[in-house]
């Protein structure tokens, strides 16, 4: 995973393909030859599913739609237009890619279970439509002349080679994806879509690219399936079991890694086919029972799939006993100068139904200043941040950043313009290294991979985490997680930073470390807006305060003025206290 040498995985892919082909040379039984061909085909469908669903976390029950369209494109092109599958499969891939775009665009508006279930409907609707069109059972005609031109070979080993070639291709594509910003962006979407969007990742665009690629690969698998089996029926290619097969091989083998679908297919397909062949006549159904029990057992023992289970085990065995948690001393970093930019908010308002979360809020932040936003729970602080970074569209009012109106822009656009954000609850990507976590935030400002890595490394140095760059995020302390999230926001080279309760849950020492980093960033010129409950820390940090209560501005000014304001004391401590002070 992640950047690193590609030589070893590429060699391993070649080794697997050659080893499998060697097996094909030895096996003479035609039934087992067919099985050896089906394993890579289902692996390709699993790899395709993995690209759009495994890396992004958006589970699709509908990959049979692409598989089936691929199978029927190849079949119909051959029967109606005499088009060879050599061209039919590329055509099928184009159809699959188009279907991916057509299906993905409306469906990506949905999240979670709704997305999964909506995807279920596409192949099933297609199933009935293809039945109605009269394609209940279509056979590929035998071509006596030039069988090779029509991808019809007497020697079954050619099919094994073709399927393996397709699988190797799909694995290489997955590998390239995992090692690029494409893969990192999809992982970021899986972990936390809003945070990814706030880090400048255009989530819809990446998801669309993923499903288009996935659709093309699944269609290629379907096309080859038709060529190998010579018969296509709506149930066999659009049926729910085909979609389930894509899920099963991937989830069983391991989600979000190119090895998962291959491991899953290599174990499960032979298992179910052999059971079918050996026991199918004696006791129909027994293969389904054994298959189901095997799936249940593995999921109870290794809920995240075989690959991750084995990998975690190996790492545990290999790794020396964990060193006592050490925290890097925060060296006073000397960050490069930043040209901070100012923010002008005028008459901003947002309501949810009848609730006025933010009303008539106006304030100004000078370039390079630190503004502290305080207020009781429910005062509208986080809503204000969500308006500033584009999660919410304001009902009214204007937000001007560095002289530019940004109200109503999408979060990734606002991030690109130079507003970074950290969250109240830190969202780390636990299986990625600290550097990779930060890299996700660096892509906004860096067109090239090398620039992004440089920006991420620099951001880590600025928060004092450089020494932990290669550690897994899962092992970080709360303090280091906060610093890592700060580095992620800094990696995009923002000119204004929105920090939502950066000190929450930190011990006294850690608070001091974080304050030191924030001060040094401010000293370098960065404009900072902080939401915080810890008044003591804020008084020492912020240049100006803005107090919110019930969605509107209660007071604003220097910390000293605000702390003395009776209205503020009342809001925080109640009327009685205000009366005593007065």
């Amino acid at each position: 995973m992640g950047p690193g040498g590609v030589g070893r995985p590429v060699a391993l892919i070649a080794l697997i393909a050659l080893g499998w082909f060697g097996l094909g040379l030895v096996v003479a039984n035609s039934y087992y030859q067919l099985m050896l061909t089906l394993v890579p085909i289902w692996a390709v469908l699993g790899l395709a599913w993995n690209i759009s669903s495994g890396y992004t976390g958006l589970v699709s029950f509908g990959h049979a739609a692409f598989f089936g369209l691929g199978a029927y494109t190849v079949t119909i092109a051959l029967i109606r237009f005499g088009l060879t599958p050599w061209l039919g499969i590329p055509l099928a891939m184009a159809v699959g890619a188009l279907a991916g775009a057509v299906i993905g665009y409306p469906t990506f508006r949905l999240r979670g279970h709704y997305f999964a279930l909506a995807m279920l409907a596409y192949p099933l609707a297609l199933l009935y439509i293809f039945t109605w069109l009269g394609y209940q059972e279509v056979s590929l005609p035998r071509e006596q002349q030039a069988p090779g031109w029509y991808m019809q070979f007497g020697d079954f080993r050619v099919y094994i080679a073709l399927a393996l070639g397709l699988m190797a291709g799909a694995m290489l594509i997955s590998l390239a994806l995992e090692r690029s910003r494409f893969g990192l962006s999809l992982l970021a979407i899986k972990q936390n879509e809003p945070a990814a969007e706030a880090a400048g990742i255009d989530t819809l665009a990446w998801k669309m690219k993923a499903i288009v690629l996935s659709g093309a690969l699944a269609a290629a698998a379907g096309g080859l399936y038709a060529v190998v089996l010579l018969v296509v029926t709506p149930d066999s290619v659009f049926g729910i079991l085909t979609s389930a097969q894509a899920l099963i091989v991937t989830l069983f083998g391991g989600v979000g890694t190119l090895w998962g679908p291959v491991i899953g297919a290599a174990i499960l397909i032979p298992l179910s086919e052999t059971l079918q062949a050996e026991l199918g006549d004696v006791l129909p159904g027994i293969q389904g029972v054994v298959f189901g029990v095997a799936i249940i057992a593995v999921i109870l023992l290794a809920p995240e799939g075989v690959f991750w289970h084995l990998r975690d085990r190996l790492q545990r065995r290999r790794a020396p006993p964990p060193a006592p948690p050490f925290t890097t001393p925060v060296l006073p970093p000397t960050p490069p100068a930043v040209a901070g930019a100012g923010l002008v908010v005028k008459d901003l308002a947002k309501s949810f139904g009848g609730l006025r979360a933010v009303q008539a809020v106006s304030f100004t932040v000078e370039p390079g200043a630190i503004l502290g936003i305080i207020g009781p729970n429910g005062a509208g602080k986080t809503t204000l941040f969500n308006l500033l970074n584009g999660f919410l569209r304001p009902d009214r009012g204007a937000i001007s950043f560095a002289g530019r109106e940004i109200g109503g822009l999408k979060p990734n656009r606002i991030c690109r313009l130079g507003i970074g954000r950290t969250f109240q609850v830190v969202r780390a990507f636990p299986r990625m290294t600290v550097l990779q976590n930060v890299l996700v935030g660096a892509y906004v400002a860096a067109p090239r991979e090398a620039d992004a890595t440089a920006a991420a490394t620099e951001a880590l140095a600025r928060v004092g985490l450089a020494a932990r760059a290669q550690d897994l995020a899962a092992g970080l302390s709360t303090r280091d997680l906060r610093l890592m999230e700060l580095a992620r926001a800094l990696a995009g080279r923002p000119r204004l930073l929105l920090m939502d309760e950066p000190l929450a849950g930190l011990g006294a020492g850690a608070v001091e470390d974080l304050l030191a980093v924030i001060r040094s960033l401010s000293a370098a010129g960065l404009t900072i807006v902080i939401i915080e409950h810890t008044m003591g820390a804020m008084v020492r940090l912020a240049h100006r305060f803005l107090v919110l209560d019930h969605g509107s501005v209660l007071a604003g000014g220097s910390p000293r003025e605000v702390m003395a304001d009776p209205a503020v004391i009342e809001a925080y401590l109640g009327k009685k206290w205000a009366a005593i002070r007065a």
């Binding site: 099933l124 009935y128 729910i240 989830l251 799936i295 999921i299």
Partner: protein, 320 residues
């Protein structure tokens, strides 16, 4: 009979069929909706609970002759009602022994909140159940035709002495029973302590734990009740429809369409959703070819999900 008269007759006939079938779908959806709403787990084995409900009813009536003394008309309905407790117990055990390991409080915090493992787990259970049923019961379609299935009430249409709408007695009785059971469950969930704990566990599992509610127990009850309710619906379908071990997947899709249409987490909504699916399925036959009847369900389902993801009858969308 005028062409218009014939069209009206066909429409009324399809409308009646849609309503009666829809009530049964509604009851199935209530069972699934309870599980989906409380546990947030996509359960592919739900269709197989339905299928098991059919076979349990079948064997209670014919196999062991236990219910023969009730006579051919009463026996299937009593059998269907008894299938509920049987599958309640089955669902309870399945959750207690296996499912609880990967759902509820155990799943919180694991990658994707354990959705992946839950999905593939229920797919595995579905495979075991339907193939196990194939071994036990054989692949031949069975039917438990109630004598009522061969009788109909004839409702003459006033404007034309030659036309009439026929209401199959078995489907009318099944629909009425579905309505009563669905309503009873709605009242229980709405009024009782049990219902309150289920709703609390569904709304906010973490807060529910702090309030002293045993969330895993709530999940187990929801799962078992959901399995039992769907099994009763299966038994009622069996009184006028043939079935075999693989019917589960056909129905599971209809059930999910209904539950999503109705908006998740609402019993009444799930019932309306199922009813809508029944109506769409039957009325669609009037305007499009029979083979596209089911395609129509999915197109309607997609349109609703894309345009109104909170469901036709729900008020809130799924939290993200």
């Amino acid at each position: 009979m005028t062409p218009l008269g014939a069209a009206v007759e066909a429409f009324l006939q399809a409308l009646a069929a849609g309503i009666f079938l829809g009530c049964l779908y509604g009851l199935m959806c209530v069972g699934l909706g309870l599980i989906f709403g409380v546990m947030r787990v996509i359960n592919f084995a739900q269709g197989d609970f339905l299928m098991l409900g059919m076979y349990v009813t079948f064997y209670l009536v014919t196999g062991f002759g236990t219910l023969a003394f009730l006579g051919p008309i009463m026996a299937p309905y009593v059998g269907a009602l008894l299938a509920g407790p049987v599958l309640f117990l089955g669902g309870w055990l399945l959750h207690r022994l296996l499912m609880s390991r990967i759902t509820g409080t155990r799943a919180a915090g694991s990658e994707g909140d354990g959705h992946y493992s839950q999905l593939i787990f229920t797919l595995g259970v579905a495979l075991v159940l339907e193939n196990g049923a194939l071994i036990l019961f054989g692949s031949e379609p069975q039917s438990l035709r109630s004598p009522l299935a061969a009788r109909a009430w004839e409702i003459p249409l006033l404007y034309d002495p030659l036309s009439a709408v026929f209401l199959n007695k078995a489907s009318v009785v099944a629909a009425l029973l579905s309505l009563v059971i669905g309503l009873a469950l709605y009242l229980v969930i709405g009024r009782s302590r049990l219902g309150k704990s289920l709703r609390a566990a569904a709304d906010n599992p973490v807060a529910a734990i702090y309030m002293g509610i045993d969330v895993d127990r709530a999940h187990r009850l929801a799962f078992a009740i959901g399995a039992g309710i769907t099994a009763i619906a299966g038994g009622l379908v069996a009184t006028y429809h043939p079935f075999q071990p693989y019917v589960g997947f056909d129905y599971v899709i209809i059930m999910y369409a209904g539950v999503v249409l109705g908006g998740m987490g609402s019993i009444l909504g799930a019932f309306w959703g199922g009813l809508t699916i029944g109506l769409v399925q039957q009325l669609a036959t009037l305007v499009i070819p029979l083979q596209l009847q089911n395609a129509a369900i999915f197109v309607v389902f997609l349109l609703v999900v894309l345009l109104r993801p909170q469901g036709l009858f729900g008020r809130t969308a799924e939290r993200v």
